[in-house]
Amino acid sequence: MFKYILKRFLMVIPVIIGVSFLVYFIISLTPGDPVKMMLGEEASEESIQEVRDELGLDKPIIVQYFKYISKLVRGDLGVSYRSKRPVLGEIVARFPITLKLTFWSMLVAIIIAVPLGIISATKQYTLTDSICSVAALIGAAVPNFWYGLMLIIWFSLGLGWFPSGGYEGIKSMVLPSITLGTTAAAIITRMTRSSMLEVVRQDYIRTAKAKGVNKKVVIRKHALRNALIPIVTVVGLQFGHMLGGMVLTETVFSIPGMGRLMVDSIKSKDTPMVLGCIITLATVFSLVNLCIDILYAFIDPRIKSVYK
């Protein structure tokens, strides 16, 4: 098991290299000159050249990239073109906000989705099931930013229950968490439903019933745990999706998280900051998926025996 975890941990490295490579080149292909953005349109040709030399921007892209990587290995993410502060410091300051928001959103999603999915599955083809399915479909179809704005209009501007934006404690987390959470909930509900439906048809569920186990206990003890693998998988994937969804949600709710930091950096072609953000996201996403894979072993003893 430990060996497996270590192996998976090491696999994060090529992921980071691949991601940074792609991002580096994509940014270099986008139009616009970061130095001009830094110094303003009126800057003289000499001062521009000077800054270029300083940043090493006149060298070939591949050389720039390798320079970046060699620094990255030493834990140096570089200095932001825009703020002139170390990238790492800014990410450390802002990523926890994003992570916290993701956590709350996921909690909202799971609390809504898993019970709804189970109810849908146990009452297949009934009115309850149809209502859950339609709700999930709407949840998956509605765009995040619009939904977030609607929540602001109703609960913040209309009822005044929650702040419309900013980051001041738990109360400001409620609306963004619901925004992100319900979208994920829609997908997790569908997955829970189909996974449960497959499991409740299995022979061992019949065996449990034939033992005289109460129907509710059969669902809770025998069915849910077997249905959990696909559910957990989709939760892991939704986690990555949520980190991406932060870009919009943080903008709508003006939360000073990493999503907004990234958008602002892309706009100003702040390559080191964009790379820093994306590498952080990729690493976290890889680690979350590793956690999910480890979780499999605790859910299903058959997988555990394979990991050895």
Binding site: Y204, T207, K209, K211, N214, K215, N226
Partner: protein, 340 residues
């Protein structure tokens, strides 16, 4: 207390005119069409027939475990201790399932929950029905494991760590853990290889003697019937076509279908002879033939067989058959092969 125990083992299970249907989008599948059965205490009834004859559906009806939807028990009555099982609530049924009536399922590979230890799966039923706490139930579960010939140390292992034969023994241990008065064994040996088959049958026979359990043995293997059963019901297209004790069925075969089943067996004394399978296939249960359901495959069939449904003809106290040949019609059967 003693009288209660005595009563538990005095009873019989009786199925009267059971009709089970499965509703699909466009069809109604008639799985069981008026089955009558009775199993006396300590006796074993063999329920024999081809795949799709409705044997398992009949058995699941006793436990009221027909998947609904799509299955519904349309008509009939199943009594245990003189009580109609269909009158019970779900909670009351839970007290019967696994306790008074339990079932050994056909496929041991899929009948055990892969994420729960074997010991826990056996202990679960014990804990529910015998008012024991978890550790006491676990202890009893270990005893059950030893009873079926598995070391008790293995109780903490998961089903994937067991072989097929051992899994089947675990399924048997689950079914026997609360000393049921009726044990339904649905092809308990089909998934096992021959050597294990013999062991499992021996085990079931021993346990039946020890606890005086009534048994319904569902099988299509006539060898097993001869070995463990007292009475036999031959089932075809959701109906019992012939019923009798072992001697009636094996020595005094009446129904053409039963005869066909025997003819399908390989003859060890004449190794060169060809097998004589029953021609054709089980009829489509959504569209059963008119008259006798077996007539399209019956070598003795006459015109009347496609028009009139046969009724039960009682041949002796123990033996009945459901065939027009025994109802004073023009259909004639001459013990083993001759027509007219």
């Amino acid at each position: 207390m003693e009288s209660a125990i005595k009563e538990k083992y005095m009873s019989t299970v009786e199925i009267e005119n059971l009709v089970v249907e499965f509703k699909t989008d466009d069809d109604i599948v008639k799985a069981v069409n008026g089955v009558n059965l009775k199993v006396e205490r300590g006796k074993t009834l063999g329920l024999v027939g081809e795949t799709g004859a409705g044997k398992t559906t009949t058995a699941l009806s006793i436990l009221r475990l027909i998947p609904n939807p799509p299955g519904i028990i349309k008509e009939g009555k199943i009594t245990l201790d003189g009580h109609n099982l269909f009158d019970y609530t779900e909670d009351e049924m839970d007290k019967i399932r696994g306790n008074k009536v339990s079932m050994i399922f056909q496929d041991p590979m899929t009948s055990l929950n892969p994420v729960i230890t074997v010991g826990e799966q056996i202990a679960e039923g014990i804990q529910i029905h015998q008012n024991l706490n978890k550790s006491e139930a676990m202890k009893k579960a270990e005893e059950m494991l030893e009873l079926v010939g598995i070391q008790k140390e293995r109780a903490t292992e998961y089903p994937h760590q067991f072989s097929g034969g051992m899994k089947q023994r675990v399924v048997i241990a689950i079914a026997l853990s609360c000393n049921p008065q009726l044990l339904i064994a649905d092809e308990p040996t089909t998934a096992l290889d021959v050597t294990i088959q013999a062991q499992v049958l021996e085990l079931m026979k021993n346990l039946r003697e020890k606890y005086n359990t009534s048994m319904i043995m569902i099988t299509h293997d006539l060898g097993i019937v001869a070995e463990v059963c007292d009475e036999v019901s031959i089932m075809y297209a959701g109906k019992i076509v012939e019923h009798g004790n072992l001697e009636d069925i094996f020595e005094n075969t009446k129904h053409p279908y039963t005869e066909g089943l025997f003819n399908s067996l390989p003859n060890i004394e004449d190794r060169k002879s060809m097998l004589k399978p029953i021609k054709g296939l089980m009829p489509d249960p959504t569209n059963l033939p008119k008259g006798c359901a077996f007539h399209p495959r019956c070598i003795y069939a006459k015109e009347i067989c496609s028009k009139r449904e046969p009724v039960v003809t009682q041949l002796s106290d123990t033996h009945y058959v459901c065939c027009l040949a025994y109802e004073n019609t023009e259909v004639k059967i001459n013990g083993g092969g001759l027509i007219e």
